[in-house]
């Protein structure tokens, strides 16, 4: 059994007429403690550890203290009852205000949301440099070309190809003579297989070579286009220029994949040209 002294509960309540949740919690703890102590006391009395007169004195003390705590708790509850609530009209106005704001914001976000491309984030916008935008476009182009190659036939995955074309068009709005954007937009248009777009593709590749005659990708794509159109001398001229440049290995692989060098050489030697692949 533990005995603790408790602060005067009623006095504390009298000091302040404000609801004090800490005080309520302390009183509830005190009430539970006193109830437990009463239980312990009775158990000890039943076990013969206490004389009847001591038991009566101690029990009376606990009862008095418990009553004081209960009265203090009741006083706190009365204070709680006095806590004011805003009038119904004000609460309704608050709810209406919140709903109107939420709906208005929802409508605005729905109206201002746009279709997300694979280079865009869920939200926000980085004012990207041409270089960063090109990197994003290249990623799109890579995926689109892989899809096109997997589809075997030209035109497969054309949605992705056109999305990548749109990306490069965006870059060209900011930098109209960018050789990389011109080259890859031209090449992607070629890969769509759409005949109406081939003229634009050729113009883009020509413009790319004009903008940067040393850009190997443009030379390689032009070589492939000329080869497929049967313009073998023009294709060879592009390959000759390409041989003087530092060409990335992937470009060499691409030419090999299309059989350009062998095909052009055979055609110029008067042999039957193997069918273009890729």
């Amino acid at each position: 059994m533990t005995m603790t002294s408790s602060p005067g509960p009623t006095g504390a309540v009298a000091k302040s007429r404000r609801l004090d949740p800490d005080r309520v919690a302390a009183l509830e703890e005190e009430r539970d403690h006193l109830a437990r102590s009463l239980g312990d006391l009775e158990a000890e009395y039943a076990a013969g550890d206490l004389a009847p007169e001591d038991f009566a004195a101690l029990r009376d003390d606990y009862v008095v203290r418990t009553a004081a705590v209960l009265r203090a708790l009741e006083a706190q509850r009365e204070l709680r009852g006095g806590a004011t609530r805003a009038p119904l009209s004000r609460r309704l106005a608050l709810v209406v205000g919140v709903v109107v704001f939420a709906v208005g914001t929802g409508v605005l976000v729905a109206r201002l949301a746009g279709t997300r491309t694979s280079t865009e984030g869920l939200t926000g916008d980085v004012r990207g440099s041409v270089r960063q935008e090109l990197a994003g476009c290249l990623e799109l182009a890579g995926a689109a070309l892989r899809g096109s190659a997997d589809g075997a036939a030209a035109g497969a995955g054309s949605d992705e190809l056109l999305q990548a074309v749109k990306c490069y068009s965006g870059v060209l709005e900011a930098a109209p003579n960018n050789p990389e954007a011109l080259t890859y937009r031209g090449w992607l248009l070629v890969r769509t297989g759409n005949t109406t777009l081939q003229e634009q593709a050729a113009q883009d590749l020509d413009a790319a070579v004009t903008a940067d005659p040393t850009y190997p990708d443009a030379r390689a794509f032009r070589a492939i286009v000329f080869f497929r159109l049967g313009q073998f001398e023009a294709a060879q001229a592009e390959l000759d220029v390409l041989d003087t440049l530092e060409t990335p290995p992937i470009i060499g692989s691409l030419l090999q994949q299309f059989g350009v060098r062998e095909g052009v050489a055979a055609a110029l030697a008067g042999e039957a040209t193997p069918p273009a692949t890729g």
């Binding site: 404000r18 004011t84 984030g121 869920l122 916008d125």
Partner: protein, 662 residues
């Protein structure tokens, strides 16, 4: 060795957290106080485990121990030591490990700081809550976010190193840890709020105990956000500092609710009001840190379907749901006790202004949250991929920001309870003149446009009010007029004003152009002339850099570059910036190799007052530190800003009721 040590550390921290939670909770339920005091050894063991795991991972990264998958994926022999160390928080598992370490540290410090109150049930339940959160995070590390998964590297294997963008600037060493100190720091006030709700002691006692902890968490989060903006500006090459992307929004959301709480808590301390609101704000702040972690770490940003492919996304979302449900349930359970006896006497009072400030911060948070999750909701419901651009965020945040600036001017001069028009006009005279002066200066230097002028005027108004308070306080109290919550808060306000003005000016008067320049050629943008001097290639172990030399206004040479990282083949631009108090000249090299004629494409961006953003951020951090120092105890309402409008004469002040005096 590293993997074994690290795993042992995580297991130790997990077991200590779980045991600590169960033991202390059992002791509290069974009222066995000696059991509740066992929180100390569990906290120490948890911290020891976390430190061991963290040290093992750092050691593995430094040693390039590729037998650990995380190191193989984020480390490389080519990466410099600093970025090899910071690689720990460049991936999911490392970030969770850092989170666990910071949380274990907070638990240990809390247990030590409140060692005299170990038998207090409120502290006990707070520690149980913190142990529960720690159990969740260390549990993640034993499951889907295990940083010590083994890997068998082939002979001669070398990793790719961290993302090149994360090894391009030393700010990467500070920004994430500060952000995490902020995120995780909000666990402390949240845990005390839960403790208060469980014990029913929802008065003002727990607020006072956690006031400084909340301030520190908020200060760290603020510093983390500002450093993140600075990093974005210095590294990404777009000359911007805020893009409303989901990761930024994830850090901004708890900042908004945390800021609202720091203001509204003063109303509860002074007037005993807004108990439910304050508890809700704290729970919301902590929940939003978890939601932010979910958004940034679950893969949901790429696609709403991606998060369900791994188990960490659903687990984080589930934990978020548990936090929300427990918080709402506890607040509902204690609802009766949370009702306040008082009410706001007049909207034209300090508490009225704080209430409006809170409404605006809550609305701001709702706007950002809705914009961030809207694409996820649409994708989940309609399988349509949409993006919410900056127009939505700017259109909504601008008016809210303006009203908040206005309130920043009004609130500090308002007394508690009610104010008279005469008093207001007297106290707002200086700030009004400051607003006029700022507008006049802006007009004199050629600034144009309605929106920036509104921002300048309101900035001047709010700055004038904050400055007035600081001057009055230092006159009255000397150097002590700079410390304490109210005075430090005014320094924070000054920082916010600088940031607001800097943002308005840098976005409204930005000039951006790309120039193709041959060596020796110059171009002019605004008041600045840039001269391209040439390009050189610099070879380093981890990258090849193409470095352009550009002279600005005939002065020093700046070197924007493009770095080609060997491990990934990725090229990353590195801008070079000339900063001055007036404007920044931001240079990026756009084209990697010049043609035969040596022409390079240089992008030049001129933005005024950008440096004010970073000065403002530093002032906010300084203000937070000053606010954390104990100010002069106010025994009587002698401070004019806290006195009621109809305060009795000085001789009678001792008789002002306690709740008015605060």
């Amino acid at each position: 060795m590293n993997a074994a040590l690290g795993t042992a550390g995580i297991v130790l921290a997990f077991v200590a957290s779980l045991s600590g939670m169960v033991t202390v909770a059992h002791g509290l339920v069974r009222r066995r106080r000696n059991q509740a005091t066992l929180m100390v050894p569990y906290a120490v063991l948890g911290l020891a485990g976390a430190v061991l795991a963290f040290a093992a991972m750092e050691r593995a990264l430094i040693q390039r121990d590729f037998t650990i998958r995380f190191v193989a994926e984020h480390g490389s022999h080519k990466t410099p030591l600093l970025f090899e160390i910071t690689a720990l928080w460049s991936g999911l598992q490392g970030s969770i490990l850092l989170w666990g370490l910071v949380l274990a540290g907070y638990i240990a410090v809390i247990v030590w700081r409140f060692r005299d109150r170990r038998s207090d049930p409120l502290l006990g339940w707070a520690v149980v809550t913190m142990f529960a959160v720690a159990t969740f995070f260390f549990g993640l590390m034993l499951g889907p976010a295990n940083p010590f998964v083994r890997f068998s590297p082939p002979l001669g294997f070398d990793g790719q190193g961290p993302n090149p963008l994360l090894q391009n600037h030393p700010l990467m060493a500070f920004h994430p840890p500060l952000l995490y100190l902020g995120y995780v720091g909000f666990t402390v006030p949240f845990a005390f709020a839960i403790g208060a709700l469980v014990t029913g002691r929802v008065g003002e006692g727990w607020l006072v105990a956690t006031r400084r902890w909340t301030l520190f968490a908020w200060g760290f989060l603020t510093a983390g956000i500002v450093l993140g903006a600075w990093w974005s500006y210095e590294v990404l090459g777009w000359a911007g500092y805020w893009a409303w992307d989901p990761v930024e929004n994830a850090s901004f959301l708890p900042w908004l609710t945390g800021t609202a709480y720091l203001h509204s808590v003063m109303i509860q301390e002074r007037r005993g009001m807004l108990r439910v609101w304050n508890l809700s704000l704290l729970c919301a702040t902590f929940s939003l840190t978890i939601l932010g972690t979910f958004l940034t770490r679950s893969g949901v940003i790429q696609s709403v379907h991606a998060f369900s492919e791994g188990s960490i996304g659903p687990l984080l979302l589930g934990f978020f749901a548990v936090i929300v449900l427990v918080s709402v349930g506890l607040i509902g359970w204690r609802g009766d006790r949370l009702r306040s006896p008082g009410r706001i006497d007049s909207p034209l009072s300090r508490e009225g202004a704080f209430l409006l400030n809170n409404v605006l911060f809550a609305a701001f948070a709702f706007v950002v949250l809705l914009g961030t999750v809207f694409p996820l909701i649409v994708e989940a419901l309609q399988d349509r991929r949409v993006s919410v651009g900056p127009q939505y965020f700017n259109r909504m945040s601008m008016p809210i920001g303006f009203v908040l600036l206005f309130l920043m001017a009004i609130a500090p001069v308002l007394p508690w309870r009610k104010a008279s028009g005469e008093l207001l006009s007297q106290r707002l005279l200086w700030p009004a003149w400051a607003a006029v002066a700022v507008v006049a200066v802006a007009a004199a230097v050629g600034a144009r446009g309605f929106v920036p002028f509104i921002a300048f005027a309101l900035g001047g108004f709010a700055g004038g009010a904050a400055l007035r308070q600081v001057v009055l306080a230092t006159r009255r109290q000397g150097w002590r007029g700079l410390v304490g919550r109210a005075n430090g808060g005014m320094i924070v306000h000054l920082g916010v004003v600088l940031i607001a003005v800097g943002m308005a000016a840098s976005s409204a008067y930005l000039r951006d152009s790309e120039f193709s320049l041959a060596p020796g050629q110059s171009a002019t943008l605004g008041d600045h002339t840039v001269t391209y001097l040439g390009l050189q290639t610099v070879e380093r172990s981890e990258k090849r850099s193409y470095v352009a030399a550009v002279q600005i206004d005939g002065g020093p040479i700046y070197e924007p570059s493009i770095n080609l990282f060997r491990s990934t083949g990725q090229s990353v631009g590195e801008p070079s910036v000339r900063s001055s108090w007036k404007d920044d000249v931001y240079l990026t090299l756009e084209q990697q190799l010049p043609g035969d004629d040596g022409v390079a494409v240089i992008r030049v961006i001129v933005q005024p007052l950008v440096v004010w953003l970073w000065i403002g951020g530093a002032l906010m951090a300084l203000g937070t530190v000053l606010a954390a120092f104990p100010g002069r105890r106010r025994r009587r309402p002698t401070d004019p800003v806290s006195a009621p409008a109809d305060a009795p004469p000085a001789s009678d002040r001792g008789r002002v009721p306690a709740e008015v005096a605060g």
